[in-house]
């Protein structure tokens, strides 16, 4: 039911990327009768195509185009060509995400005001009042079918969760549960209930976890207003002499280049590719890249303060069985500077299969210290740490002119140094995470370093003032009225929560704004 639009049709909204931001925006606009062409660099994979094998799935779904890294983060050493573990496919990283769907806490919209000056941090308040988001969060929760919201029940806890919950309670934590998850606890919205199969990261073969790939995308297409062109990799955004964007140049699966005209362009390629595209679209009129009068394009890259804690017990856990992210402790998510850092963090269960555990437990490790840990794989429990990291101007995406991608364009370099606040928070979280497991008899614990980034945020940030950021409160670029940012790169600050629900809520909100502005002929 694809609606074929002509390349020369300059009435369409072109959306680059089909993930949580772009995929939702495309459907929301299509439902309102707006003509949309979505350009997706990856191919289309549906539940029957997903592979429940970690490395094979990685080969199928991961974004593996050339990238480089720098900075003091350990990822730059351990996974120098893979700064981020994100997806190149229709639906984007909503195929891979774990499903945790948490609202920001009110104070997190106002980080600069709440935390005060933090040396080296480029903190800023979001130009959004938290109350403006309430209805959009509700709409997002209903769209995703989030458990423990509306009348939806929570998921049952698996073995990994039971260990985690018992440790949390022994430690005195009170906010521990199987969490708010975009995974059906009962069949809902034409999607099945979770069958506790594991492999949430490899795409849910039951469709129990929400992904744009099999919800918003086909529903948008069914309206006749949305055409999704897969394996269409956008190279450049074009503009006219007045500074308005006019279309995008993309390469199709065969490498042939096409120019799709557009009335509006929305960029949702994630926090690495979105700023890279703006920078690669530099012109005589915009020599520093599109929408970059503030100089903030690519800066303030955030990846959440992360890490993991695994623990070995004297009896089996079999953590891989069931939901990958099966529960959460929220007691540490508050802002409480008495702990030695601003902001907060969540602890969320996580399981890796043996192949990924070998790759991620202690990258580069070898010998018996390493292998005796894996010998106890069956007796292992695990959790992931996710907390707010500090935006820093020097943490940024730049063009690496020494390394070219398959189209001959400069590859993105991802530079990241931990802020002292990030380090203090991570050390606190390691200590608490290890204490959770030791409270229920762990014989050995592993404070495991961060994986390649799954939460990539902030590189086209939202700001009240055009000096301070790239987009306004609607994701519209300060410089170019018909150019929007529609993904996590518009995040002003990262908050402690997994970002997808907020990306979806912002996309629903942005669709309202774009449709209204089009109706008024403002853009």
């Amino acid at each position: 039911m694809a609606a074929p639009f002509e390349l020369s049709d300059d009435s369409v909204v072109v959306i680059i990327g089909t993930g949580a931001g772009g995929g939702v925006l495309a459907n929301e606009l299509a439902q309102k009768g707006v003509s949309v062409v979505s350009l997706e660099a990856g191919g289309r994979y549906l539940p029957e195509d997903y592979i429940n094998d970690e490395w094979e799935s990685f080969g199928q779904l991961a974004w593996l185009d050339a990238r480089t890294t720098s900075g003091d983060w350990r990822v730059a050493n351990d996974f120098s060509g893979l700064p981020a573990w994100i997806v190149k496919a229709v639906g984007g990283t909503t195929t891979h995400w774990a499903g945790a769907s948490l609202r920001f806490q009110d104070h997190e919209w106002k980080a600069a005001t709440t935390y005060g000056p933090v040396q080296g941090a480029n903190l800023l308040d979001w130009p959004i009042d938290p109350r403006e988001m309430d209805d959009y969060y509700t709409k997002a929760e209903n769209k995703l079918g989030v458990t423990r919201t509306g009348d939806r029940a929570g998921l049952p806890g698996n073995n990994n969760y039971k260990v985690f919950e018992a440790g949390a309670k022994a430690l005195g934590y009170e906010e521990v549960s199987t969490g708010r998850m975009a995974i059906n606890s009962a069949s809902n919205d034409d999607r099945a209930a979770c069958q506790q199969t594991g492999f949430c990261f490899q795409g849910c073969k039951w469709g129990a976890k929400w992904s744009a790939a099999y919800t918003d995308i086909p529903r948008g297409e069914a309206t006749g207003n949305l055409e999704v062109r897969e394996r269409a990799h956008v190279l450049k955004i074009e503009h006219d002499d007045s500074g308005k964007v006019t279309g995008v140049l993309y390469a199709d699966a065969d490498g042939n280049q096409h120019l799709q005209k557009a009335r509006i362009v929305c960029v949702a390629g994630n926090s690495i590719e979105s700023p890279r595209l703006l920078l690669n679209s530099a012109s005589n009129m915009f020599p520093e890249g599109l929408a970059n009068s503030s100089g903030q394009v690519g800066r303030n890259y955030m990846r959440h303060m992360t890490g993991s804690v695994y623990a070995v017990f004297d009896k089996p856990v079999k953590m891989w069985r069931g939901t990958t992210m099966a529960g959460i402790i929220q007691d540490e998510a508050r802002h409480d500077p008495s702990r030695g850092f601003v902001g907060g963090y969540e602890l969320e269960t996580l399981a890796l299969g043996l192949p990924f555990m070998a790759a991620f437990l202690d990258p580069g490790g070898w010998g018996r210290e390493f292998t005796t840990a894996l010998d106890s794989y069956e007796n292992m429990a695990g959790m992931w740490i996710v907390g707010e990291d500090m935006p820093q101007e020097t943490n940024r995406i730049t063009l690496n002119h020494d390394v070219k991608d398959q189209y001959g364009l400069p590859a993105p370099n991802v530079h990241f140094d931990d802020h002292p606040n990030d380090v203090a928070m991570r050390n606190h979280a390691y200590k608490q995470g290890m204490a959770v497991y030791e409270a229920v008899g762990a014989t050995r614990v592993f404070p495991t370093p961060p994986y390649p980034s799954t939460h990539n945020l902030g590189t086209n940030r939202m700001s009240e003032n055009s000096r301070d950021g790239v987009v306004n409160k609607h994701g519209q670029t300060h410089d170019i009225a018909n150019l929007f940012i529609s993904d996590g790169s518009q995040f002003t600050t990262g908050a402690a929560e997994n970002p997808t629900l907020t990306i979806v809520a912002l996309a629903i909100r942005q669709a309202d704004f774009i449709a209204a502005e089009m109706g008024k002929n403002n853009i």
Partner: protein
């Protein structure tokens, strides 16, 4: 890949082979386990080189409940025309380092701690890191290895664990 040796009895195998360390025997174009439980043909690297490489693989990721044939399978891919020069040079350097510590060769160092001590001295070499990095997938991504660690792999074909013990922990 490796294959169960069905043609040779242990006695026949040993009569045609020379010992390489305690765990392996080598002959013309093959490496085998001393127990004759498995054998692997090699075409591009010397059999003794491959035996040393298999020992090195075990010393990097030692799992006492994982048999040599899985380590052999993990490094079998280096028996290629492209990789052979790098492997021969790397193992030659490993043996040279072993001789520097008073052993006849790497594989003749009898204690794991002695071999690990030799490896530590080469830990930052490209050769060591190539072998180690390759083993992360070469060893742990062998489906036949997974059950040895209790890992069950995919469960979709069995309907997941909803009725098969996702919450069957009984000691917490």
């Amino acid at each position: 890949m490796t294959s169960r040796n069905t043609k040779l009895t242990r006695r026949q195998l040993l009569s045609r082979s020379a010992a390489a360390g305690a765990a392996f025997v080598v002959g013309a174009g093959y490496v085998a386990g001393s127990s004759a439980a498995w054998a692997m043909n090699v075409e591009h690297v010397q059999p003794t080189t491959m035996a040393t490489l298999i020992q090195m693989a075990r010393d990097i990721y030692p799992h006492d409940h994982v048999a040599d044939e899985f380590y052999a399978a993990a490094v079998k891919g280096y028996d290629s025309a492209d990789a052979a020069p790098m492997i021969e040079a790397g193992i030659a350097a490993l043996d040279a380092a072993a001789r520097g510590k008073g052993y006849a060769s790497y594989i003749e160092a009898g204690w794991e701690r002695d071999r690990v001590d030799i490896l530590r001295g080469l830990e930052n070499s490209t050769f060591f890191q190539t072998i180690r990095g390759g083993l992360v997938t070469g060893l742990y991504n062998q489906k036949a290895v997974w059950p040895l660690f209790g890992y069950e792999g995919e469960s979709f074909s069995k309907g997941g664990y909803i009725d098969r013990g996702f919450d069957d922990i009984n000691w917490i």
